[in-house]
């Protein structure tokens, strides 16, 4: 019945399964939602979406799909006898206005055009001067200011408000693709925790052994269990200053989130691109530096390296010796990046800028090449993908 809707959802990345679709149909059969589009929306949402981050996408598809139906409904309304319309027109329209209608070819033409546009129109529309929608100057649609306007969808406000629940898009800030807010950051943080708890080594399960031995009537029965690893070691390298100023807050949030989640977390700062020295305390960056080599020797290859930076600078800051804006660097940024990546096989780069801007910035492109494409945006989805990559591990 709603196979098209389910398909549209799947195309938008809401992976609805057959089971869930059947559940929805069963729910309708059990009369959970009766003759009320809002109830139907709630039922569909409860049975098809299982992740609050996807609810916004669901809302968008729902609006698009069922807005279409409403428009069809309007077309049926527009099929009321033309005599009525003509009478109305004669009663309410002035001479000039009727002349204006003639310009479009009379009422028959008006309705004909309407039908055509209903067939052509794909989605929902606002403003503009041709398509059917709201607040436009097109002859068709509601709240317009065309004298020949045909109102469509006005009948929809039979409930308290004209704005549909799904049009409010109240779950927008839960979408995984939007940038992190305070709440979503907490979620990302949870993800880090889950990731930090996995392990493979085995250890003796003492209480399990006692139980199994007792259950076995007193014969020793050894039980092993996987070790709980909460010891993921993370090196966080944060870019600060300059172009990163706009993202300081987000990065600081990520930083404090990460701090709470790992037992072993070391933080260093760099500016734009890591060179031969890093610093631990940004306030004392000029008098207390840690040579990068020393850092690399201190922390073993089992540490996971996370860069956080916008990778926005002049390309020569990466490629040329002496390219740094702050000091004279004897070796180019590429050399240092290569060294770091050789030492720490598990590394990702988190970039707080919009991914669409990466391609347009040659330094970001360059950095992304250096890190073999492992650059992720600072969004929930981005973090998840990045952490998955780290978890996979490269040997």
């Amino acid at each position: 019945m709603f196979a098209g809707f389910v398909n549209a959802l799947r195309n938008e990345g809401v992976k609805v399964s057959l089971l869930e679709y059947l559940t929805l149909l069963n729910g309708l059969k059990a009369q959970v939602a009766l003759f009320d589009v809002e109830d139907f929306y709630f039922l569909a949402r409860a049975s098809l979406v299982k992740d609050e981050r996807l609810i916004d996408r669901f809302d968008r598809v729902f609006a698009l799909y069922f807005r279409g139906l409403q428009a069809v409904h309007g077309a049926i309304l527009a099929d009321i006898p033309e005599e009525w319309l003509k009478q109305l027109a004669e009663r309410f329209l002035t001479e000039e206005e009727r002349a204006a209608i003639e310009r479009l070819g009379g009422l028959e033409k008006l309705l004909e055009t309407l039908r055509q546009r209903l067939m052509e129109q794909q989605g929902r529309h606002e403003g503009g001067s041709k398509w059917i929608g709201t607040a436009g100057t097109s002859p068709f649609g509601a709240y317009g200011d065309n004298p020949e306007g045909v109102r469509i969808g006005q009948a929809s406000s039979r409930r308290r408000s004209a704005v549909k629940v799904w049009d409010k898009r109240e779950f927008r800030d839960l979408d995984g693709e939007v940038e992190l807010g305070t709440r979503t950051l907490k979620l990302a943080l949870r993800r880090l925790r889950r990731w930090a708890r996995e392990g493979e080594a085995s250890e003796l399960d003492l209480s399990g052994t006692i139980h199994a031995t007792a259950a076995n009537g007193g014969c020793l029965d050894l039980q092993m269990r996987p070790e709980r690893h909460n010891k993921v070691k993370v090196l966080l390298l944060l870019d600060i200053g300059g172009s990163m100023d706009d993202y300081i807050e987000e990065s600081a949030q990520l930083f404090s989130a990460a701090r709470a989640e790992f037992k072993h977390l070391e933080t260093f700062y760099f500016h734009n691109c890591p060179y031969e020295s890093l610093w631990r305390n940004n306030r004392r960056r000029h008098d207390q530096v840690t040579p990068t080599l020393e850092m690399m020797n201190t922390y073993g290859p089992d540490w996971k390296l996370i860069f956080v930076g916008d990778a926005t600078m002049s390309p020569y800051e990466i490629t040329e010796p002496g390219g740094s804006v702050e000091h004279w660097n004897a070796e180019a940024g590429t050399v240092w990046m290569a060294r770091l990546l050789k030492r720490f096989r598990n590394a990702i780069w988190i970039n707080p800028r919009d991914p669409r801007a990466w391609e347009g910035t040659s330094s970001a492109r360059l950095m992304r090449q250096l890190i073999e494409g492992r650059m992720y945006p600072l969004t929930l989805d981005g973090l998840e993908a990045g952490l998955k990559e780290l978890q996979r591990g490269r040997r």
């Binding site: 059990a30 959970v32 939602a33 039922l43 409860a46 299982k50 779950f171 007792a214």
Partner: protein
């Protein structure tokens, strides 16, 4: 019989329409309802209120990080049996004496349908939901020790809450209805407050809500106050009989609302709030 049951907002619990639909769908199709949402928005209370509204008994199963799925079904107390065996107790010959029923077992064999609350499922091990898949889907399980199958006489209404600490497996999610309790808007909040504290002064509520939503807007709070905190706070305000003027006070010296301890649960938040409030008041 279950499909006759319908849930609606009660005088004590204000449920949004979408929540009602989700609960009714779960009841009608006898599938679990998974409820997520900010802490303190009434996820656990929901199960209690559903049970109260439908006049069904409530069985609560609170999950901890050490809880195993099998504990919800039954536990075989092997140690007790070993001890009895060594003492020569006659009980030892019947293994059924050492099987302890879990919450799911209780829910399955109850004579009337029951509401089963599985609270904070995300606290448990990551495999926990997977281990309950079949049991919740078919509402039956097998006891290996006694070779009997326990089948639900009446499918219980299962309500599961999660705080999002762990991702739940897809296969599990597909078998549930899902509802995300959003933080209520001011209007709904007034109804909730009216239901909880019927004789509270209207004015007081309005001023308090105002302050409360302002407080939620403060950026960077570690734990935003939620519905349950608001209700506690209002209760305190009533007991202390705080006059309206105090809530309205724009006096820079009184920057922090009275009895804020009920709303902010962490001293960093209190400091932050003081700073923000101070700046805001000075700007006025």
């Amino acid at each position: 019989m279950t499909d006759r049951l319908r849930f609606a907002s009660t005088d004590r619990y204000i449920a949004a329409r979408d929540l009602e639909v989700a609960v009714n769908a779960a009841i009608a199709l006898a599938r679990p309802l998974l409820v997520k949402g900010e802490p303190g928005t009434g996820k656990t209370v929901l199960a209690e209120e559903v049970a109260r509204a439908l006049r069904l008994p409530l069985i609560q199963w609170h999950i901890k990080s050490t809880t195993k799925a099998a504990q919800g079904l039954y536990e075989y107390d092997a140690v007790a049996r070993l001890r009895d065996g060594q003492l020569g107790d006659a009980k030892v010959h019947d293994i059924a004496n050492y099987i302890k029923r879990g919450k799911l077992w209780d829910a399955f064999v109850a004579d009337t349908p029951v509401v089963l609350l599985i609270d904070e499922i995300d606290k448990a091990d990551i495999e926990f939901p997977n281990d309950l898949l079949l049991e919740l889907d078919r509402m039956e399980f097998f006891v290996y020790e006694t070779k009997e199958t326990i089948v639900a006489k009446r499918r219980p209404i299962v309500i599961i809450t999660s705080n999002n600490e762990k991702e739940l497996p897809d296969a599990f999610l597909r078998r549930c209805f899902f509802h995300y309790i959003r933080f209520p808007d001011k209007e709904t909040m007034e109804r909730i407050v009216a239901a909880q504290h019927p004789n509270i002064k209207q004015e007081l509520v309005r001023e308090a809500l105002h302050l409360f939503y302002d407080m939620r807007e403060v950026p960077g709070l570690k734990k935003k106050p939620a519905t349950s905190e608001l209700l506690d706070w209002l209760k305190l305000l009533m007991i202390e009989d705080i006059p309206l003027e105090v809530l309205r006070a724009k006096d820079p010296k009184v920057v922090i609302p009275p009895l804020h301890g009920a709303l902010l649960k962490n001293e960093q938040d209190v400091h932050l709030f003081e700073r923000v409030a101070f700046l805001a008041r000075r700007g006025q």
